[in-house]
Symmetry: C2
Subunit: 336 residues, 2 copies
């Protein structure tokens, strides 16, 4: 059985996709090796933001580099962390004299790389603060959040932190805001059909013809929630219910909702899921004030989605409404 | 075998997805029954644009309603044309005294509906012009283009025509521009894995474990090009070669390239395909001056893509560089 992907050489996947991305988004980014650099960085006089993570999850994270979002994304090979040396290089390049916020999703390889890069940056006298997102409720309780994986909830944080940078906030202030955001959210994933690893052609698992699995993590690590396929409303009831309890949210609260398609789940389904989530939260007296619906952080052609909910206050909403212009996320200044 | 889609009731798919879309994009559109209406229409004093087409192809076409693109999209049921009555209603609602451009993709049901709606509009004394896109090179020669299906090449035309409307061009001028754009482009589709109909659960076909099919059309109608799965470069060579010959393009020409994912093809693959297409055209002395890469007009979770190439001149590029703000397409004003 052939791998049914339109690629050339499994050994050059990341180089080739980055070359294509650099050509497609040349107005917004410059691709330099495995660094994706915002064109907005050149004139920046503020705190800047660097992220890192493996390829294979497109558009994340390179698709979110640009004005009002990320300054540099350091890209690793497929599902792999980049080298600490390349993260150090990015942080040095990003520093405009106000310091750099390094945002990391909690996965073992990324954390190892980020911690080494932080040590190297301190030796090199670069002013860097690291904030980790770890919001997957499926593999550890909130009291043990160091064991929680980082999922798609990091993406809206990129814009909110970047908007704070553009307002002239200090590195300490931006880092505190980012940490507060990370603490305010929760995510859970579900898969209905597994994906194929694009480099070695291996399947990530087999969910059979009738089942879905809740709590899959980012790469299909699994979390024990295998059960018969359910309707949108039933699935949202299970997932949103768990998130509301975890955060926790109560009647009168305002929140952000993201439905992040894993790859083969249609936008048609995502709109239905989003509607069912809004209505579910409404029934609890919780208001949805902002959203992202689409393919944001994917797992190749996996069918399924991540549901992310964050408790928002006026500061998060105000920063969210600032402009952004990247390949995969765009906001115009919202007029009062 | 269960249908592995997150839906509730096959009978209310379109209503439910439109409700979700209206909630997710409430800043940009108002959903009124099966009409998706741009918030920018209220203050419009210009020629306006109406389109129509079945659901199940999200984000097309409802995702392209908004400032600098469509004024109203009339949504049919899954893969079905809407009613002529609803198209008439949309055209009457859209008319701001300067006339309405009705853009239609060449599919039998859509054409039947559009032709009836045009007759009704003429009776009702609404000033409407219809332009049809029909650019699928797989099922008829250019000399017999009435038999060619309309594919994703219509989407960039929406923005170019809308930018001309905003410049104050007359309905005759905008219609002539749209026709000139329709004549300047060509599209070909390939599928590697079929999709499932979301309402009845039936598969669109079986391409086996090793094959792909070039010339699939929009709904898997097929075109006879079944062959073993090929690399990105080989596939682009076949498809772009056929488009270049059809348009035709020659050394020194400028063009637009779209890689439109059908559903389960990753953005990783689309970037690699786009890069290979740019390099292929460069080898022929043809320059790519603009692009769209992503899921634009999908076929549920079909794996595959449409490759669209259009020969561009300075007028198309100038209009393309005007701003647009929709759920699925945005451009900022390009600074000289």
């Amino acid at each position: 059985m052939k791998m049914k992907k339109f690629i050339n050489d499994p050994g050059t996947l990341t180089d080739e996709l980055l070359e294509g991305y650099g050509l497609a988004a040349s107005e917004l980014v410059e691709v330099n090796g495995h660094l994706v650099i915002s064109r907005a960085l050149a004139g920046a006089d503020r705190v800047t933001i660097v992220t890192m993570g493996g390829s294979g999850h497109e558009p994340a994270q390179a698709g979110f580099v640009g004005d009002g979002m990320l300054d540099i994304q350091v890209v690793g090979d497929v599902f792999s962390a980049p080298s600490p040396q390349s993260v150090l290089e990015a942080v040095q390049l990003a520093d405009k004299g106000h310091g750099v916020l390094l945002l990391v999703l909690n996965h073992a390889g990324d954390m190892l790389c980020a911690n080494m890069a932080m040590k190297m940056a301190q030796k090199a006298d670069v002013n860097v603060r690291k904030v980790v997102t770890q919001e997957d409720i499926s593999n550890a309780p909130r009291s043990n959040s160091d064991d929680r994986r980082g999922l798609a909830g990091a993406i809206p944080l990129y814009h909110i932190a970047a908007a704070a940078c553009k307002e002239g906030k200090s590195l300490d202030e931006v880092a505190a805001l980012a940490q507060r955001y990370a603490d305010s959210m929760a995510t859970i994933a579900v898969a209905a059909r597994s994906a194929t690893h694009p480099a070695n052609g291996e399947s990530f698992g087999d969910l059979g013809d009738d089942d879905m699995e809740v709590g899959m993590g980012q790469h299909g690590e699994g979390g024990g929630g295998r059960q018969p396929m359910k309707t949108s409303k039933e699935t949202i009831g299970i997932m949103a219910g768990a998130l509301v309890n975890d955060i926790p949210l109560k009647s009168g609260d305002k929140c952000f909702v993201m439905v992040n398609g894993s790859g083969a789940t249609t936008l048609m389904e995502m709109f239905i899921l989003y509607k069912d989530c809004v209505r579910y939260l409404e029934s609890l007296g919780i208001e949805v004030v902002a959203n992202m619906v689409g393919e944001i952080l994917t797992v190749q052609e996996q069918a399924g989605f991540q549901l992310n909910i964050a408790k928002w206050d006026d500061e998060f909403l105000r920063l969210w409404n600032e402009p952004a212009h990247t390949f995969s996320f765009f906001r115009e200044k919202v007029r009062a």
